[in-house]
C-alpha cells in the first residue's frame, strides 16, 4: 500500500469516526459496528457474532445479541443500524410465520433471504442494514446468504459482515475449506471473530454462536476473558 494511499484511509476513518463510525448514523442512533459470520456445514449452519453495540465511540451495550431468530431453523446476523435491523427482523418474523401457516410447512432459508433482500433493496435510501441470513431447511440443508448494504443478495460458501470483517478476510480465505464438519466450522467462526474483535474498535465483548441443524438450535457464548485470541 503506497504512502499516498495510506494517507487517505485514516482521513475517512477519522472523519467517519468523528461523524459516528463508520456508518454515518444520525446523532444518538446506535450502530452494531460489528463482526458477523456464518459458515454452512453438512447438516446445518454455524452463525457467530460479537456483542458490541456502539454510539460513536461509546459502547452502549457490551453484551448484545446480534443473532436473531426469525423462524424455527432460520436465524439472521445483524449489522449496521441496530434500529433498522431490529425493525427488519420483526417484519421478517411476522411474514415467515404467516407463510408457514399458509403453506403448512417451514419456510426455506432462500425464501427468508429473498424477503429480506426485497425489504432492504426497496428501502435502500432509508436503511443502513447489512445482514447474513442462515439456517437449515429440507430443500437445501444448511445454507447462508449474505445481504450487504444496497440489497444485493449472494448465496455464499461462507459469509462475513460488519466493520470487523475487513480484518479477517485474509484469515478466513486462508483457513476455509469446502466440506468442513460442524466442529471445524464452529472453531473457525470463533477464531475469526476473536481476531476481528482484537483489531476493530467497533467490535468486542463476547462471541455468541448459534449452531442450527435439523434437530435444533444450539446457542453458546464465549466470555470476553476466554476468547481464542486477543483482545
Amino acid at each position: 500500500m503506497s504512502a499516498h494511499a495510506s494517507m487517505h484511509a485514516p482521513r475517512s476513518h477519522a472523519a467517519a469516526a468523528a461523524a459516528a463510525d463508520p456508518y454515518n448514523l444520525k446523532p444518538g442512533e446506535h450502530s452494531t459496528g460489528t463482526t458477523i459470520m456464518a459458515i454452512p456445514f453438512d447438516g446445518g449452519v454455524v452463525m457467530g457474532a460479537d456483542s458490541r453495540t456502539s454510539t460513536g465511540t461509546y459502547i452502549a451495550v457490551r453484551v448484545a445479541d446480534k443473532i436473531t431468530q426469525v423462524h424455527d431453523r432460520i436465524w439472521i446476523c445483524r449489522s449496521g443500524s441496530a434500529a433498522d435491523t431490529q425493525a427488519l427482523t420483526d417484519y421478517i418474523r411476522h411474514y415467515l410465520s404467516q407463510l408457514a401457516v399458509e403453506t403448512g410447512r417451514a419456510p426455506t432459508v432462500k425464501t427468508a433471504a429473498h424477503l429480506m433482500r426485497r425489504m432492504i433493496y426497496e428501502n435502500k435510501d432509508n436503511l443502513m442494514a447489512g445482514v447474513i441470513v442462515g439456517g437449515w431447511d429440507v430443500v437445501d440443508g444448511g445454507s447462508v446468504y449474505n445481504i450487504p448494504l444496497g440489497g444485493t443478495m449472494m448465496k455464499m460458501p461462507f459469509a462475513l459482515g460488519g466493520s470487523g470483517s475487513t480484518y479477517i478476510w485474509g484469515l478466513v480465505d486462508h483457513k476455509f475449506k469446502e466440506g468442513m464438519t460442524k466442529d471445524e466450522a464452529k472453531a473457525l467462526v470463533e477464531k475469526a471473530i476473536a481476531h476481528a474483535m482484537a483489531r476493530d474498535g467497533s467490535s468486542g465483548g463476547i462471541i455468541r454462536t448459534v449452531v442450527i441443524t435439523e434437530d435444533g438450535c444450539d446457542k453458546e457464548f464465549i466470555p470476553g476473558d476466554k476468547l481464542p485470541y486477543g483482545p
Binding site: A14, A15, P22, V63, T68, A82, T85, R199, C217
Partner: protein
C-alpha cells in the same frame, strides 16, 4: 504555487495563506490520525499515580497495542497523553531538548547542582506551548496530564522547601487546571465520578492502584477505543518516577443476564 517541504512546525506558512480566507481561519488545520484514549491521574499518600492503556488506534482500528503513553520527563515529573501520538512524541522531544539545553548551559555540571524543572513548571510551560499553537490554528492535538512534585505556588517563603505532589491537565487549546483527580477523554465522563466518590488524599499505594484499575476496567467496557492492557506510573519522593510494564486487567462477562441469549423467537429480537 507549490511550496518546498519545510521542517518548521506546521510546515510552510504558504499552505495556510493559499487557502480561501474565512474557511482557512475557521477550519481546523489538522485531524488526529493515530490516537490514544483516556489518561487518569490521582494524588495519593506517597505522591501521584497515573494510568493509561497501551493502545493507539488508527481511526477505528486497534493498530498499535504496545504504545507507551506515559513518559518520564525528569525525576520529579511524569507526563501522560491522549490524542495524536505523533504530537505527543514531538512534545516529549521538545521537553528533552529543553532539559539538555538547561544542563549544558547550567553553571555547574555536577548532578547535585542541577535544577530540573519541577512538575508545575513543566505544566506551565506546556500551557504556553499549547496555547501558542492554538493561536496559529495548528494545535498539538493532545490532552496532557502532568504529574509529579512541585514547590507550591508562592515560592519564596520558608515553607516553600517542602515539595508537594502536583497533578494538572493541559488540553489541546491551552486550558489548564490542577486537581487531586484528573482524567482525559472518555475518562472525564466515566472515571471522574468514580474517582470523586472513592478518592481520599491518604490512599495507600495498593488502594490507589486498585481504584485506577477499576476505572480502567470500566473504560475498557465502555470505550470503543480502549484496551485492557494498561500501565500504571507513580511519582514519589522516595523513588522518583516509576512506570510499570504493561499488564492485562481482568474483565467480567459472566453475569446471568449477559449469558442469556435474547435473539430467539421467545425473546425480544436481539438487542
Amino acid at each position: 504555487m507549490s511550496a518546498p517541504i519545510s521542517l518548521a512546525p506546521g510546515g510552510s506558512s504558504s499552505r495556510i495563506s493559499a487557502r480561501a480566507g474565512l474557511e482557512a481561519a475557521t477550519e481546523r488545520t489538522r485531524q488526529p490520525i493515530v490516537t490514544g484514549t483516556s489518561v487518569l491521574g490521582i494524588k495519593y499518600k506517597d505522591g501521584v499515580m497515573l494510568a493509561a492503556d497501551t493502545l493507539c488506534s488508527y481511526g477505528s482500528m486497534a493498530k498499535y497495542k504496545d504504545a507507551r503513553r506515559l513518559t518520564k520527563i525528569n525525576d520529579a515529573t511524569l507526563l501522560g497523553a491522549g490524542g495524536e501520538y505523533s504530537d505527543f512524541q514531538a512534545i516529549t522531544d521538545l521537553l528533552k531538548r529543553n532539559a539538555l539545553e538547561d544542563k549544558c548551559t547550567a553553571d555547574s555540571l555536577y548532578e547535585e547542582d542541577v535544577n530540573e524543572e519541577c512538575a508545575r513548571e513543566v505544566w506551565n510551560y506546556l500551557r504556553a506551548v499549547m496555547y501558542n499553537r492554538r493561536n496559529k490554528m495548528n494545535p498539538l492535538w493532545n490532552d496532557l496530564v502532568v504529574a509529579g512534585f512541585s514547590q507550591p505556588a508562592g515560592v519564596g517563603d520558608a515553607s516553600a522547601d517542602e515539595d508537594k505532589p502536583f497533578l494538572g491537565l493541559v488540553d489541546k487549546i491551552g486550558t489548564t487546571y490542577e486537581d487531586s483527580v484528573i482524567a482525559t477523554g472518555f475518562g472525564s465522563y466515566l472515571a471522574i465520578p468514580i474517582l470523586r466518590e472513592k478518592h481520599r488524599e491518604d490512599l495507600e499505594e495498593g488502594e490507589a492502584r486498585a481504584l485506577l484499575e477499576d476505572c480502567m476496567r470500566v473504560l475498557f467496557y465502555r470505550d470503543c477505543r480502549a484496551l485492557n492492557r494498561i500501565q500504571i506510573a507513580k511519582v514519589t519522593k522516595a523513588d522518583g518516577v516509576l512506570i510499570s510494564e504493561p499488564y492485562e486487567i481482568e474483565t467480567s462477562w459472566d453475569s446471568a443476564s449477559f449469558v442469556e441469549p435474547k435473539g430467539q423467537l421467545e425473546g425480544d429480537g436481539g438487542w
